[in-house]
Amino acid sequence: MAKFRKKGGRKVSGLSTASLPDIVFMLLFFFMSVTSMKETDYKVKIKLPAATEVKKLEKKSLVSYIYVGAPLAAFQSKFGTEPRVQLNDKISDLYDIPDYIEAERQSHEEADRPFMTYSLKVDSDAKMGIITDVKQELRKVQALKLNYSTLKVARK
């Protein structure tokens, strides 16, 4: 049997990769803990307006979203091009809002319900008419904590 012969002097041994899984796991756990899956797929176009005086929404689990915007191209044949309301992952009508709010309330504990916030993600190009209608529907069902979702820009 042939023997491997050492060539030349001592070689630098390869970098030990034994700790690589640990490092990767650490990163993995970090991302697992900060991850929040995207709430829903947008079926309407939403380009948020910018504002300077924004506040962060604290309890993310207590926030329900209402999207308003023009339907995306794939849904325009069915829903038209005028801005529509999207609840969960369906393009809905205004009169669906009270049911949606009720369902959102039912999915939270009673003690948490007064702190629920409704975040309006509305496209910049939408008109106030539909927003006013949404607001009126929200008022009807006593959903009064509202957030106009915006991007943050620095104050001039």
Binding site: T17, L20, P21, V24, F25, L27, L28, F31, M32, V34, T35, S36, M37, K38, P49, A51, T52, E53, V54, K55, K56, L57, K60, V63, T117, S119, L120, V122, D123, S124, D125, A126, K127, M128, G129, I131, T132, K135, Q136, L138, R139, K140, Q142, A143, L144, K145, L146, N147, Y148, S149, T150, L151, K152, R155
Partner: protein, 209 residues
């Protein structure tokens, strides 16, 4: 005796990598942020008559369907809105047509005489105890918009008005607590909030010419 060999763990890193990449891709770190606002409760027929507000204490901001701005009935530029609102609220020259200023002690007596305003009276007491007899504004900003107003414009106007309140609060906080509003304690913030309550009223929807 045959020995069971160790499980080969060299693929562990690959599996972990795979998961890592999955979470990297699905992560959305952005937190939702925006302008928080409280809607008024639904209007009912037999609503008790709300207290009458003197006309000088209402700052009317109008946006029409062509996204033009009017302040107190006159067309105005978006850049002036914040400054005009601050001037209206603080009324430094004590002018007749800007918001009325009342002393905290007067406001306290007013609130204390009404049994349903106990919490407000208490908050006013805290102001009196901590900052002395400061001026409290009676100003209310009334925001009206048309159904045809663009959402972007509406947010811009809302933002300018909130900015005015925030600047007023910051200045007050700096004067009495030495720091800006965001850096003072929750109790101190409550005091500043009592002095400058975010009084933005949005009219019942109607069309604006």
């Amino acid at each position: 005796m045959r020995q069971v060999g160790d499980i080969n763990a060299s693929s562990q890193a690959d599996i972990a990598f795979l998961l890592l990449i999955f979470f990297l891709v699905t992560t959305s770190m952005d937190v939702d942020q925006g302008l928080l606002r409280q809607l008024p409760p639904p209007s009912t027929e037999e609503q008790p008559k709300t207290e009458q507000i003197n006309e000088r204490n209402i700052f009317i901001v109008l946006i029409n369907k062509d996204n033009q701005l009017a302040i107190e009935g006159e067309q105005a530029d978006f850049n002036e809105l914040t400054d005009r609102t601050i001037k209206f609220l603080t009324n430094p020259a004590n002018s007749e047509n800007l918001a009325e200023q009342v002393k905290a002690s007067v406001k306290y007596d007013e609130l204390a005489s009404k049994p349903d305003k106990k919490a407000e009276a208490e908050a006013m007491k805290a102001v009196l105890d901590n900052c002395g007899d400061v001026n409290i504004t009676r100003g209310v900003v009334s925001l009206q918009n048309d159904r045809g107003t663009k959402y972007e414009t509406y947010i811009q106007v809302q933002n300018s008005i909130v900015a005015a309140f925030n600047i007023c609060r910051d200045e007050f906080a700096k004067e009495y607590f030495g720091k800006v509003y965001d850096e003072i304690s929750a109790d101190e913030q409550k005091i500043v909030k009592t002095v400058f309550p975010l009084n933005i009223s949005e009219a019942e929807p109607r069309s604006v010419k």
